[in-house]
């Protein structure tokens, strides 16, 4: 189970809305206590694809984030990206490019901008998808 503070959810939402019509992306970090993952920090990254259908994170930004995560004694919990026009479920491309089976993949759907939907997934071997509960606190 993942816990996300409301203010951090709002940061993700604002980043995604500001990125429209393109996809937006970022990373999440925090601490793990038993089976609970607490998101302590959200990092807003640049989608270097500048596309409404694809995203790639900027590796230089990723490196800077990695260092900040370590400096804060957090662990990388996962990444997030928006789907401006499709549901909050991993697409074929999302599954194919989910190379790290240990992290969560969060997807924020803006298909209905008045009712954004955020879901979290684990993806094994590019095909086995399981949803993980994400609670906004």
């Amino acid at each position: 189970m993942l816990f996300l503070r409301k203010k951090d959810y709002e940061l993700i939402l604002e980043h995604a809305l500001n990125g429209l019509p393109n996809e937006a992306c970022g990373l999440i970090a925090g601490v793990i206590k038993e089976d609970k993952k607490y998101i302590e920090k959200v990092y807003l990254l640049t989608n270097i694809d500048v596309s409404r259908e694809h995203f790639s994170m900027d590796p230089k930004e990723q490196l800077a984030v990695l260092k900040d995560i370590r400096a804060n004694n957090y662990v990388l919990l996962g990444n997030f990206h928006s789907h401006p026009e499709t549901p909050a479920r991993p697409s074929k491309e999302d599954k194919r490019l989910a190379y790290d089976s240990k992290i969560n993949y969060l997807i924020l759907s803006l298909m209905n901008p008045k009712q954004p939907v955020l879901k979290a997934f684990l993806i094994q071997e590019g095909k086995d998808v399981s949803e993980e509960v994400i609670e906004i606190v």
């Binding site: 996809e23 409404r52 401006p84 491309e93 490019l97 790290d100």
Partner: protein, 69 residues
Amino acid sequence: MFITVAGIKKEVEDGTTIEKLILDEKIENAEYVTVTVNDEFARREDFDKKALGDNDVVEFLYFMGGGSF
């Protein structure tokens, strides 16, 4: 010699290349990993050529991307 890998200092054999380090560290899906040495992005074609040096700092970054369809 000693190097720092993903924030952890460890001893490796002299002459260790990035390719050998990837194998030793059992990096999943290594073909999609970007490597930095002392904050410089290493070229994939150099992974098996360039030996790491004492006190080098190595990071592994997974490509992160996807799409809507």
